[in-house]
């Protein structure tokens, strides 16, 4: 990415017209899993997309796949490490210019490094999870919130997790990062709803992605990321506030959240 003038004139997606309208979406963490599925679905739904991830090869392959399927330039690739917060303002500016506006931002990026046992601690890993899952989200969504508030339009989607609903013995760092993200998204929602901006918090259970392999123990109700993407796109259309995917997790988490601490702290999951 160049910060100098003149900026390289990247080929933009086809210009929007009244009869060929294009909403513009940004997906942070799009190279595989849920982010990639969301990109495929939203492109089908008529979005022009900026796709961000660390890995150039996967990102380019996904963009090529989407652009070939729709036979027009719809997805643009940007290589970015979410932990490089200082690069966000200039990159965001460039993306908005390349897309020709911005209507939707989805923050999917997240890492999960389980400590590997209920009596193990690993500060470096916990710190990375907070830096990417939480501070990374704040670095991106803060300027986005400011822009959407000013425009009195837009939609923000954040991928939190059922893991953020309760602090459990298995992975304190991950729980904390996702709980923090969920609270941050709630605060954004409370700030932005009055300005006509929708903020959707998504709490997936287990998804059959690379992250699932890292999970230890049983993974009940695991669903394909494409199913989760369907749920999310539907919730976006209805401008919902919080969803669980698969939806059964709403009831499971209701039970878990209401489990008294006196019992919960004796459980080993």
């Amino acid at each position: 990415m160049s910060d100098t003038f003149p900026a390289a004139d990247v080929p933009r997606p086809a210009p929007a017209t009244p009869l060929n309208p294009r909403r513009r979406g940004l997906i942070i963490g799009a190279s595989d899993g849920l982010g990639a599925e969301l990109a495929r679905k939203l492109a089908q739904d008529g979005f022009s997309l900026a796709l961000l991830a660390r890995r150039r090869d996967k990102l380019d392959a996904l963009c090529a796949e989407i652009n070939a399927a729709l036979n027009e330039r719809r997805a643009l690739a940007y290589v970015h490490d979410v932990a490089e917060y200082d690069k966000v303002p200039a990159l965001l500016r460039k993306i908005v210019a390349d897309l020709g506006g911005l209507d939707l931002v989805i923050f999917v990026a997240g890492v999960n490094y389980p400590p590997g046992g209920i009596d193990k601690y690993n500060f470096d890993n916990d710190r990375k999870m907070i830096e990417i899952n939480l501070i990374g989200a704040m670095a991106w969504l803060h300027p986005v919130a400011e822009m959407f508030q000013s425009a009195r339009a837009g939609q923000i989607v954040g991928i939190a997790s059922v893991a953020g609903d309760r602090g459990r013995v298995g992975n304190p760092g991950y729980n904390t990062s996702k709980a923090g993200l969920a609270t941050y998204l709630e605060a954004l929602r409370n700030r932005l709803t009055r300005h006509g901006v929708n903020v959707l918090t998504v709490k997936p259970g287990f998804l059959k992605t690379g992250m699932l392999k890292a999970a230890q123990g049983a993974t009940p109700f695991a669903i394909e990321p494409s199913r989760a993407a369907d749920d999310i796109v539907n919730a976006m259309k209805k401008r919902k506030q919080v969803i669980y995917t698969a939806s059964i997790w709403r009831w499971i988490m209701l039970a878990i959240q209401h489990t008294p601490s006196v019992i919960f702290r004796r459980l080993s999951f």
Binding site: F5, P15, A16, T17, P18, L19, N20, R24, L102, E146
Partner: protein, 466 residues
């Protein structure tokens, strides 16, 4: 400066296209210079926007900087003796006519709404119902100054920097930003205008009527019932108007007062017109609007001559505030084609037939008489124009888009042209076909000279010229 807090969702006139941009408010020439510097630093594109009255993407620049010119709206000089006005580009036609009318002058060319800014009028080189007599607004501009992205302020007139004069007017704001505009007003001897209304029963008579009546009047405009096909296709009503000569209006002094020119803001004296567009909504569909068109044609049968105020005659689009919202959530678009008088009838017959056949009838058809002009990106022809309004819905976009592509083919084959303030779906290829390679090359050369870094770009520019 935090640009994020200037992020604004902007729309076209028909509310059918949205694009968010960083809005920078402009009051002075220095502000424009600073905005250029900021854009260069950030690698963003710049477009000027007045009141956003274009039906298409002419004043949209998604993801870039939009200069809000409405605050640069001061009169710099006004000489009631000669009728010459020098003003800033954000001055609207409303400000302009209200400034000059009490002194017995009227803007030489006006659009159907008085909300347009003069800068926008020049950028699109607008025409009025008097195009066949007096040409587009550019022919009444004696001089203007503009700042190019290099930071230079250039003075242009038909004599000085003539190549830029004839290309910046009609240049869609892509060569520079107007900073002052000098226009010569037209003398009037009354606040009233004499209008002759009469019906025409088919397209042949409609166009012949425009042709025959034009030489004897100052303004001519036709309304066309867009729901009728077959032998009555093109039926409608012609309004031919002429300005009153000195002495024809015994109360001229009174009728030229501003108070006399105001459009009523309540319907039947009770209903605030600002709410009317809500009431219109249930009727803005194929069935309802067909009935409205038919009723209008029946009421047009009475041949009569009447006098009305200039404001009432010219600014039909301002009768119902926000009328364009009556088309609903997805807004409306306009398809306007300009055809030589020899080919117009056959082409428009095909277009209107096709429109009804496809189940996408236009809701409003308006015809005018035109003449060619010397401006670079001109839409002028020795012939007529037909403007067709279409309501956009989620369900009709595909069909409408395919149909308009066929319209483009019909119009181009008939030697027609398009107007850059109106059509939103024209492709770069269609623009190239009617403008010609030579014109486009000339425009590119001038663009390179005025704007070597391609700083000025609108969504329209990217659609048509990239």
């Amino acid at each position: 400066m935090n640009l994020n807090t200037s992020f604004t969702q902007l729309e076209n006139f028909g509310h059918s296209l949205k694009a968010s941009s960083y809005r920078v408010r402009i009051r002075t020439t220095e502000d424009i210079y600073e905005a250029f510097q900021l854009a260069k630093k950030l690698g963003l594109k710049v477009t000027a926007r007045g009141t956003g009255i274009s039906y298409n993407d002419a004043s949209l620049n998604g993801g870039g900087i939009v200069l809000d010119m409405t605050g640069m709206n001061q009169f710099l000089e006004w000489d009631p003796a000669s009728g010459v006005v020098r003003c800033e580009p954000g001055v609207t036609l409303e400000q302009l006519w209200q400034c000059v009318e009490p002194y017995g002058w009227w803007p030489p060319v006006v659009s159907g709404t008085m909300r347009t800014t003069l800068g926008g009028c020049l950028a699109a080189n607008i025409h009025g119902k008097n195009n066949f007599q007096v040409g587009p607004i550019g022919e009444h501009v004696t001089e203007f100054t503009a700042m190019t992205p290099t930071g230079a302020v250039i003075t242009c007139s038909p004599k000085k920097n003539a190549d830029l004069f004839y290309s910046m007017i009609s240049g869609l704001g892509m060569l520079g930003i107007f900073t002052s505009i000098t226009v010569k007003m037209k003398r009037i001897h009354s606040g009233l205008i004499s209008v002759d209304a009469h019906p025409v029963s088919n397209l042949n008579r409609h166009l012949n009527d425009l042709l025959e009546h034009a030489p004897d009047c100052d303004y001519i405009v036709g309304w066309l019932d867009t729901f009728v096909r077959g032998q009555h296709l093109g039926r409608g009503q012609i309004h031919a108007a002429r300005s009153l000569k000195a002495g024809e209006d015994p109360n001229a002094e009174q009728t030229m007062q501003l108070a006399y020119q105001h459009l009523p803001d309540r319907l039947f004296g009770i209903m605030p017109k600002s709410l009317l567009h809500y009431l219109m909504r249930p009727f803005v569909n194929n069935l309802g609007w067909k009935a409205v068109n038919a009723a209008k044609y029946v009421s047009a049968q009475r041949k009569h001559t009447f006098r009305q105020s200039h404001a009432e005659f010219h600014f039909l689009l301002d009768y119902v505030p926000d009328w364009e919202r009556s088309a609903g959530r997805s807004g409306l678009i306009q398809y306007q084609s300009f055809l030589p008088k020899e080919t117009a009838e056959a082409a428009w017959r095909e277009i209107i037939e096709l429109s009804i056949q496809r189940g996408c009838p236009s809701y409003l058809g308006v015809t005018k008489r035109h003449r060619p002009d010397k401006f670079l990106l001109t839409h002028g022809v020795d012939g007529f124009s037909l403007a067709l309004d279409y309501k956009v819905t989620d369900g009709n976009r595909k069909a409408l888009s395919a149909m308009l592509q066929e319209f483009d083919r019909i119009v181009l084959e008939a030697g027609g042209r398009f107007y850059f303030a109106k059509n939103s779906e024209t492709s770069a290829e269609s623009a190239r076909r009617f403008l010609g390679d030579e014109t486009i090359e000339k425009f590119r050369t001038l663009k390179k000279r005025c704007d070597p870094n391609n700083l000025l770009e609108s969504d329209l520019y990217r659609r048509l010229f990239k």
